[in-house]
């Protein structure tokens, strides 16, 4: 099968494949420039990445970030977006943008949301008036936003839901809604509609969904409904089952995943793209993502720690001053975390840079065909002792030929 694909507004080329695992390194060319995959996409929910300027975001190495259609639809609203000329113009961002459809927010944020064949019925958060969001609304809004990748409206339910009937209904409805989205999408030459595979933790349902959605030949494919507190072992099985069935020449995006170990394992299982609010949200609580784990720098033990946030990190904060950085120390983050907004900005910058740089190292390892070795050294660094690596990661990696305990 081909290892590249092109549609009107997207080009996907696989550069290298791991000879052991299912990991791939590729280039995804979007209307606002090429993106090296695998990639972590930071989440700028309301058209701003938690205090960072677009220049600072670009300096972390980011060229593809997320906005949320649900939030932008409310503030500043579709009419304003239309006037301003879309989300790129709104936030002064020259890179690529992916927007989520709003379906997930509708269900996760709003109590009493009810999904019908027509769309998502929900009560207005303000006055309780019944409202309806349809696949057509979602496409219209995302067309106005002008994001480079737009997501279909899907019927999302928690993977942990025991109701198999409802799960099946959601999966099948998501397929029908994909068809409605394809029809309603007005700018396929500028924006790429990704489908979202549903089916909960049921591998058979996932297979049906993969098969059906692959037929629709969207420029990219997302695996949705995960990262909702399900057993990690089951999560890995679902990702792996989907990547086995999906066409190899399309980018694969696992939604809502952002812990470093989840990323490196999911990449081994054949996924290319990820997003999560965790690295930026946790930064605001004073947590630093580092190569030796996540550190809560608000803890008094860091008050006198004069080392950088992460000695291996090359972000603006961590680089010493004589090498062009700021030489920010853990002690200083302790001093400002959760007290000054600037403290949140520094850690946000670091955390985003950390994840993007991790993706860069992963990519280099895949290209040089040493991803298994990379996984060994990554987990040894993060956990100190391989015996401490969680079972789900050991199992998932063993399935793709990497035995961390060997």
């Amino acid at each position: 099968m081909s290892t590249s694909a092109q549609s009107a507004a997207l080009k996907f080329e696989i550069v290298a494949k791991c000879s052991t695992t299912k990991a791939r390194a590729s280039i995804l060319t979007l209307p606002h420039g090429p993106v090296s995959l695998p990639i972590f996409q930071p989440v700028a929910t309301q058209a701003s990445l938690k205090g960072l300027t677009s220049t600072q975001l670009a300096e972390t190495g980011c060229n593809l970030c997320l906005n949320n259609a649900y939030h932008l639809g409310l503030k500043p609203g579709q009419e304003t977006l239309e006037k301003v000329g879309g989300a790129h113009a709104l936030q002064g961002w020259k890179g690529n943008i992916l927007t989520d459809s709003g379906g997930f927010q509708m269900v996760s944020l709003l109590k009493l949301a009810k999904v019908t064949e027509e769309g998502v019925r929900f009560l207005s958060p303000h006055d309780g008036t019944p409202m309806l969001l349809t696949p057509e609304h979602s496409m219209s809004l995302q067309n106005t936003i002008g994001s480079d990748i737009i997501m279909q409206l899907d019927d999302v339910i928690a993977t942990t839901s025991p109701d198999a009937e409802r799960m099946k209904e959601a999966m099948e409805r998501s397929i029908r809604w994909l068809d409605r989205c394809v029809t309603a999408h007005k700018r396929p030459e500028k924006q790429n509609l990704f489908c979202i595979i549903q089916g909960g933790l049921d591998l058979e349902m996932r297979k049906v969904c993969c098969k059906e959605m692959a037929k629709r030949d969207t420029p990219g494919i997302a695996i949705g409904g995960l990262s909702g507190g399900e057993d990690k072992m089951l999560y890995c099985q679902v990702v792996s089952a989907c990547t086995d069935l999906l066409p190899p020449n399309k980018p694969r995006y696992v939604m809502g995943v952002g812990y470093p170990e989840d990323l490196v394992v999911s990449i081994a299982l054949g996924a290319d793209m990820f997003d999560c609010v965790w690295p930026t949200r946790t930064a605001r609580f004073g947590n630093a993502v580092t190569s030796t784990g996540t550190l809560n720098l608000r803890h008094a033990s860091f008050a006198n720690d004069t080392g950088p946030i992460d000695a291996d990190c090359a972000c603006t904060c961590c680089m010493p001053e004589d090498e062009g950085g700021l030489g920010i120390t853990r002690a200083y983050i302790y001093h400002v975390a959760a007290k000054e907004t600037a403290g949140a900005h520094l850690l946000t910058m670091h955390n985003v840079h950390y994840l993007l740089s991790l993706m860069g190292k992963v990519r280099a390892a895949i290209i040089e065909d040493r991803y298994p070795e990379f996984l060994h050294s990554y987990f040894r660094r993060a956990y100190g002792d391989m015996a401490k690596v969680p079972t789900w990661a050991l199992t998932a990696l063993k399935e793709v030929g990497v035995d961390l305990l060997a």
Binding site: A47, T53, Y70, T80, K83, A342
Partner: protein, 472 residues
């Protein structure tokens, strides 16, 4: 002015700081042009301002933003921002353990201030929060992030020895928030003198071959006669140790003895508008801390004045000094905050984005306003210096006063979350920060975060925005 760059004169002098006035004063109070030079720092032309920091950062500006997108030449830091562990937990504040080479300031390294900028350290934040306890003969009352405390002047001296800022402010026995009584006034001069002397002695102890920090001594906000003993000492035994003066109000200019006219004058007074700054410049103040920059930023106001005023005055409709960006009228405006502004914000963004960010309570809104507002004040001082140079300052000042409104715009929107050390609540005031969490219901919390439309929005607004349609 090229000679002023000459640092060799600085090296030979007993003063760590060189302040050269373009012309010697002929009167007590007249606008003056100067240049402040310290070894290894970019010289600062005066009149100018000093950016006020909070816990080592200019509020909302991460250190890289400040370096790359502002012209800030000097930063004021307050010791009370760094010593909560000492005052409340009886521990050594981490800053005192911070490693630095003999020629470096641990404080500068800790807060990652660029080498070119002047680092000024004083005891209290700008503006200082009033404290319930009064000063004693040996200590002043302070506010740390853990609450009220006392700062012994001996501890202050020790802190200066360790932190080695470029410029240190002597502690003045000054009350914030109310006027001193007659008995207190008698003590103010004596205490201030004792504290300044202790500081001078403490800085002499340093024997690492590096210049001592420059010392700015307080001029107390009382009549000259009431502090004459102290002022005599400044001119006599302390004359070689004092490199500048700190003023708490503009009127204190009158108390400066003629022999000290050549010293740079830093004002910590509450200059709550550019008009007040111009008044103080006219009376010969050289350097300012300006609380209204961050205050307007927090209020969502974009400053919008220039000196000299670019438009002829119109008495009937004076121009506003700033624009409240919370106003929904900016929501679709694609112009920058000011069409002629070259700041980062105005070069990269439009009003619609700023309005959106405020409305969505995104932190970036305050970042972009803070960059812009500092830029406006930077240009204001550059214009002031140019007009003094041209001899047109008085005329331009009169014209500026006629062109602009007296006050900054009213604050309408909600500011960023404030902390206890940043803000003092008044009696019977509503809570400053809205409650962030009402219940342990995650969905509701996220909904709060999503903060949709205006509180008055209803289903029609949703529908109008095309986001969804009414179901029935």
């Amino acid at each position: 002015m090229a000679a002023l760059h000459n640092h060799s004169s600085l090296r030979q002098s007993s003063h760590p700081l060189l302040f050269v006035l373009q012309k010697s004063n002929t009167r007590q109070d007249e606008p003056r042009l100067g240049r402040l030079s310290l070894l290894n720092r970019v010289p600062m032309d005066t009149p100018h301002y000093v950016a006020a920091s909070s816990r080592g950062a200019v509020p909302h500006l991460s250190q890289d933003m400040m370096r790359e997108n502002t012209n800030i030449r000097a930063m004021y830091t307050a010791l009370e921002d760094f010593i909560e562990k000492a005052s409340h937990q009886d521990q050594t504040p981490p800053i005192f353990n911070f490693p630095a080479a003999p020629h470096e300031s641990p404080l500068r390294k800790f807060i990652a201030l660029q080498k070119s900028a002047l680092l000024i350290l004083g005891p209290r934040r700008i503006p200082p929060l009033p404290c319930p306890a009064s000063s004693t003969d040996s200590a002043i009352s302070i506010v740390t992030s853990l609450g009220f405390g006392m700062l012994e002047y001996t501890d202050y001296v020790e802190a200066i020895q360790k932190l080695r800022p470029d410029i240190v402010l002597g502690i003045g026995d000054v009350l914030f928030g109310h006027k001193p009584g007659v008995k207190r006034i008698d003590k103010m001069g004596d205490r201030t003198l004792a504290w300044v002397k202790e500081l001078v002695d403490g800085m002499k102890d340093e024997e690492n071959g590096m210049p001592r920090p420059a010392l700015f001594a307080p001029i107390l906000p009382i009549e000259a006669e009431r502090q004459s003993y102290y002022l005599d000492a400044l001119q006599d035994e302390l004359v070689d140790s004092v490199d500048g003066l700190v003023l708490y109000d503009t009127a204190s200019i009158d108390a400066i003895p003629k022999t000290l006219w050549h010293l740079p004058r830093l004002s910590l007074g509450e200059m709550n508008s550019p008009h007040k700054l111009l008044d103080a410049i006219a009376r010969g103040i050289d350097i300012f801390t300006i609380p209204f920059i961050t205050e307007t930023t927090d209020a969502g106001i974009a400053l919008g004045f220039s000196f000299p005023a670019t438009k002829a005055p119109d008495v009937d409709t004076p121009l506003p000094l700033g624009v409240d960006m919370w106003a929904p009228t900016h929501a679709k405006c694609l112009s920058p905050l000011r069409s002629d502004c070259l700041c980062y914000t105005c070069t990269n963004h439009h009003q619609a984005f700023i309005q959106h960010l405020l409305n969505a309570k995104e932190m970036l809104g305050w970042v972009l306003l803070q960059l812009h507002n500092h830029h406006i004040v930077d240009n204001f001082f550059a214009g002031v210096r140019q007009s003094i140079q041209n001899g047109s300052f008085e005329d331009e000042r009169t014209s500026f006063e006629k062109t602009y409104t007296v006050e900054l715009p009213e604050k309408t929107g909600q500011g960023p979350r404030v902390r206890g050390y940043q803000y003092k609540s008044e009696k019977s005031e509503q809570r400053k920060n809205p409650p962030a969490y009402r219940s342990l219901d995650d969905r509701k919390e996220k909904l709060v975060e999503a903060a949709v439309l205006s509180p008055s929005a209803d289903a029609n607004d949703f529908e109008q925005q095309g986001f969804a349609e009414k179901a029935e």
